[in-house]
């Protein structure tokens, strides 16, 4: 199972890096969205995928419980990712309205050239 997840994470990273190398700003933004999901999946896998039960001690045995820490970490990371994503989408929108282009090769140059 961990091996399968490793493949999934790898594919996610590859696709998002491919997106990020694009010249179109929107594709780059999608790349950053995907890459944060890739990291979340990696966090999920990092604790091991063996446990099935919720991590509440009732019968004293700790063997079949899922590790709660990666889940807590992912929750935090998702919330942060959500906020950052909302901000970058708005920023990209403003950028597009200001420059009327989403081509990153045009969006460069010094301050005094603008």
């Amino acid at each position: 199972m961990e091996f399968l997840m490793a493949l999934v994470v790898g594919v996610f990273f590859a696709v998002s890096i491919y997106f990020m190398l694009s010249k179109k700003l929107l594709k780059v933004v999608f790349g950053t969205l995907l890459i944060s999901h890739a990291a979340n999946l990696m966090l999920l896998t990092s604790g091991g995928l063996k446990g099935e039960k919720a991590p509440i001690l009732s019968d004293g045995s700790t063997l079949s419980y899922a590790d709660p820490i990666p889940q807590a970490l992912i929750l935090t990371a998702i919330v942060i990712g959500f906020g950052v994503t909302a901000f970058i989408l708005v920023l990209t929108c403003r950028l597009y309205k200001t420059f009327a282009t989403d081509d990153l090769s045009i969006l460069r140059g010094e301050a005094n050239e603008k």
């Binding site: 944060s36 604790g47 950052v84 920023l91 301050a111």
Partner: protein, 494 residues
Amino acid sequence: MKNNLLVVPVILPLFTAILIFLISNIKFQKLLSFVSTTFCLATALYLTKQVSVKGIQTLSLGDWPAPFGIVIALDLFSGIMLILTMIVSLAALIFSFKTIGSERENYFYYAFFQLQIMGINGALITGDIFNLFVFFEILLIASYILMALGGKPYQLQETTKYMIINMVSSVLFLVGVAVLYSTLGSLNMADLSVKVGKAGDQGILKVIAVIFMIVFGIKGGLFPLYFWLPRSYHAAPSAVAVLFGGLMTKVGIYAILRVYTLIFAPTLSSINNIILIIAGLTMFLGVMGAVAQMDFKLLLSYHIISQVGYMIMGLGLYTPLSITGAIYFLIHNIIVKSCLFLISGIAEKLRDTTDLKKMGGLMATDPSVAYIFLIAGFSLAGAPPFSGFFGKFLLIRAGLEKGSYLIVFVSILVSFFTLYSMTKIFKYAFWGTAPENVKKVQHNHYFGLVLPAACLALLTVFIGLNTEWVYSYVNSAAYQLMNPDLYIQAVLGG
């Protein structure tokens, strides 16, 4: 030692920010942020005094015992950084009263300023690596907003790039945390330090160490990863550039020093040559960039990169003296760099440009600014009576004792070029004739502009003249970093 006051540097800016969002009166917002920042500075001073008397202060949040709950810990290094953060924040805040303009103030500039301080303070005092990630995110999100606020085309363009780069580095941080957790099964930094000691020299630990080096290298502006820095800092308004240039990269350096001395100390011996090479290249290429620039703010931004190299040189040498030198240099650099950015802000306000060729004649029209720049510029280059000299002296001596002559040579060469680029600023911006139709700044306006820069310049003179006194604190901070057992004992309780 348990200490509930430790939460104040994080909680206070947070609540101030929330209050500012609720209050629409700009004057009251200013007053509130000033009082809160001053109070935070007083708390930082008091806490650091306590650390120096009673040892490392810790607090387990929610009273969960150490490796399981979240711990915040303040040792002397983070205490010193906390004081400097608050000093620079206060200077930048006073400077922004006069310069930031009502269009930014109306969109809650002061609230985001406080959130930025909260993120930096949190990153400095946390004892948990995932918490470090969270606080880095807070300070980054606040910095995106501060950079984009105002909405000029150039700002939007550079903020987008800055943001994408930092999102990638955050993801790498998360990956590093994931691999670290799956390898060692803990996130508490003291606990990790113990577990790394037991795990021995594993290959995977080196990989994790390098991931963290890349993550903090992007934030701190190390050699192959500094390309984003000059343009982004150039795009930010002056008061924000003070905060970024003085503090943001240094938080990255703080994290490198913390993580490498505490967690990855066993792997350090195998990669410290690489760190030294990175340090040398960072110094040299940074200063070369500075020499080539003809823009006040861009030139200073390249200097940030160059100076970061010195701090990493201290880590690469990894002797007690070199770590002492690195911390001393960090103190000096935060103060002087903020002072220089303040002066560039004043010059921009006086001349409406950052282009050195269009400035000219500031010496004749505003001599006080010129003399403050002279002090700060000489201090940055490392001239003897000021603080810069002693920082470089300690680092170079550590390098000579270790026998790393090449890095010593590079650092002396870089000092020379630093002096050259400072004289270049002086020649173009302060000497020469003033351009026509220069607007006069009113006298009462002038005081608020120059005051923070003058205070910081006085501070660098003070530190330079009282090196012995500062050195005693820095030395024990370095002692705590070199002996992680003290930190572990304070956090895990023996």
